[in-house]
Subunit: 251 residues, 2 copies
């Protein structure tokens, strides 16, 4: 269990947006970031959704950036009055919110002189000392300030930003998974599954019930960093299911 002695890199996602809290918009960014972090060996430990309210954003940014190695925010970096994430991050860090020379160049190239109005120029501002996160989709960049990565909320843009950021993250070995499909209900296998979990502290075993073709079944998801241990644990789970009269499968 070498993994246990290595540093575990942790992360949190902060989703900024009234549209998620009103139910108008279904968030799609969290699942994307989650999968990317697992592949990079970074443990996503928490996510929060908060409204576009200055004091709230500042409070959560400051609470979370000291708790986790990485904080990823999505949403609130456009040109309208409800886009305040960028200024709030500056306030959270106690630094000025200033025109970023590189971002300014991007916007000067993007707009005709008359079209680069005050609202659009706001998007060229970052907290002082921030470095840009490129936006190959619609150009307006995100930025990194310390361990805080500020990204767009629009999924297509967010994904492009996150992909470029992810390449440079420090992480551990990727988190791998095995899924055992089980045709028995959770209540039948719970005891045996708990016993296996107790023997594999380095494997995280989750049980997810489903209802398919008229009967209850369970997806058993094993996650960990060591392929051999995962395979061993998965074999034990399958043997346990067989012993209880089920026909397990590796999904």
């Amino acid at each position: 269990m070498n993994a246990a002695s290595e540093k575990v890199y942790t992360a949190c996602v902060l989703i900024v947006g009234n549209e998620i809290l009103s139910g108008r918009t279904q968030d799609e960014n969290l699942a994307y970031i989650a999968k990317g972090l697992a592949a990079s060996g970074v443990l996503l430990k928490e996510a929060r959704v908060i409204p576009d309210v200055e004091a709230t954003i500042i409070r959560h940014v400051n609470e979370l950036r000291v708790q986790y190695d990485y904080l990823f925010t999505t949403g609130g970096i456009g040109p309208t009055h409800d886009d305040i994430t960028s200024e709030c991050v500056a306030k959270a860090f106690g630094v000025k919110w200033t025109l970023h020379p590189e971002a300014h160049k991007i916007f000067l190239a993007l707009y005709k002189p008359g079209d680069l109005n005050e609202a659009r120029l706001r998007m060229a501002h970052t907290p002082e000392g921030a470095s840009l996160i490129v936006n190959p989709v619609s150009r307006a960049p995100g930025f990194q300030m310390g361990n805080v990565y500020v990204m767009a909320g629009i999924p297509g843009v967010m994904r492009a930003m996150f992909d470029s950021v992810r390449q440079n993250l420090k992480g551990g070995p990727p988190v791998l998974s095995r899924t055992v499909g089980c045709d028995l209900p959770e209540g039948t296998i719970a005891k045996g599954l708990g016993a296996i979990q107790a023997r594999y502290a380095d494997v995280d075993i989750g049980s997810y019930p489903f209802y398919r073709r008229g009967s209850f079944g369970t997806s058993l998801v094993l996650r960990g960093r060591e392929p051999k241990r995962l395979d061993q644990a998965a074999q034990e789970v399958m043997a346990m299911v067989r012993e209880l009269g089920g026909a397990p499968s590796i999904e």
Copy 2:
């Protein structure tokens, strides 16, 4: 602006589940709860996603239940080792976790004597003093403990539980919305929109850009409790868009 002087009921959603943080499962419950709360005049102010870890669940439950009028949790009330939300809520409240007589009856009716094993009987336990939330889908109930509503994670079950809970929530007038479709990009309307927002403190105006049929447009969502004020503000938004050369629509 009578609404401002009335008590505003607030809520938070706490999503408990490793499967959301690993990206394996796309949460669908938050949007559903959000829409229901808006209809009940309850303001959803925050949501969090946390892992199935005892100390973490206890900490967040205790932090959030005093901050908001209502706390809704989803996930972690099944029979397996990773289903620990119920015990954790008992610990958060500092009360015993005991067999709930009504829940016990439900399970006695549901299973043949030999099949009601220890794992399934766990699901008949609640914090002492809790009242049950009925589950018309798969029978195993959720529960209410103080201002904390503990519900299943499986969307079909969660929705049924939430629907029954929602009827009895105290809230204000429902939150209504108007959506103005605008064929101009955000950067063009940002200044005018901000000016309108500044005049309507009781209307929350959100701006959501989209890219459709080769050009940028913006959905402008106005939310508030007073239909007349919403209609007024929406008319102002439409006039502003027209003035800038756009052709707005009420969506």
